[in-house]
């Protein structure tokens, strides 16, 4: 271990702010792109279901018009 104590590790030889800021932003950005991709996947599948129901409603409305003609 390069550092004597955990506090020294956190201090990063005086550059704590820059090191932890860059690591934080990096993993934050990676997290955001990953989560965004997964939630888009969920929304897309939900959208497919909505499209299915929309088709069913349109078909059903067409039937009603045929019968009422």
């Amino acid at each position: 271990m390069q550092f004597e104590s955990f506090a020294d590790f956190l201090n990063m030889g005086g550059y704590a702010f820059y090191v932890w800021l860059s690591f934080g932003v990096t993993f934050l950005a990676m997290g955001i792109i990953a989560i965004q991709s997964f939630s888009k996947h969920r929304d897309l599948l939900k959208q497919v279901v909505v499209e299915q129901e929309r088709k069913a409603r349109i078909k059903q409305a067409r039937q009603q018009q045929q019968d009422s003609m």
Binding site: R54, K55, R57, I58, A61, Q65
Partner: protein, 207 residues
């Protein structure tokens, strides 16, 4: 009662019509006929106050519309060539915003029912640009049943409508006239008897 006195209008230095006067009483359907380029659309736009004539005046209930517009616009519904709906919004949003602008409050279910009446079931929340021209026309037409306007000024309302659409529109025109409404419309297909009796006003093409 909508009256036009001595209207003159020229577009790109060609006088479309001059000294044109007409009176339309409530409970009357005026069918404006004329070849392409005769100035039908320009006349309609002048009657709605959207564009101003070179000379002459348009009166609604005896008052000049260019002076006090709010009273006239409260009773007016104008359907132009353009549908007046934004492509990226859905039919539902377009209509609810339009109603808000015209100070008409209508429960959401009525929106759905009117859209069902014009045959747009299931397409209520689809962005309008994905709809066909005829369907977009129906979204614009569905405003007829949402805002109870006395005066209907329709510019070729039947374009891009299928047979069922035309029949429905003519039936509602007949009902509107029956209720004492006033309609001025142009159309390239002759009005069938379902639209009830109507007066014809001919606009010749001037060179």
């Amino acid at each position: 009662m909508l009256e036009a006195r001595e209207l003159t209008c020229s577009k790109r230095d060609r006088t479309l019509f001059e000294g044109l006067s007409l009176v339309v009483e409530p409970g009357e359907l005026l069918y404006l006929r004329g070849p392409n380029g005769a100035g039908k659309t320009s006349l309609l736009r002048i009657l709605t106050g959207l564009s101003s004539p070179d000379s002459g005046v348009v009166l609604y209930n005896g008052m000049d519309i260019s002076a006090d517009k709010t009273g006239y616009y409260q009773d007016l519904f104008y359907l132009g060539h353009k549908s007046g709906t934004n492509g990226s919004l859905s039919a539902l949003d377009n209509l609810s915003f339009w109603l808000a602008q015209h100070n008409v409050s209508v429960p959401v279910n009525t929106l759905f029912d009117v859209l069902e009446k014009v045959g747009l079931v299931g397409l209520e929340d689809v962005p309008v640009r994905y709809l066909s021209a005829g369907q977009q026309r129906r979204v614009a037409l569905s405003r007829l049943w949402l805002k109870l306007a006395k005066v209907w000024i329709l510019d070729e309302p039947f374009t891009a409508l299928d047979v069922k659409g035309v029949h429905m529109l003519e039936k509602s025109m007949k009902e509107h006239v029956g209720r004492g409404g006033l309609i001025i419309t142009t159309s390239h297909q002759h009005l069938s008897e379902t639209a009830g009796e109507h007066r014809v006003f001919d606009l010749e093409y001037r060179f």
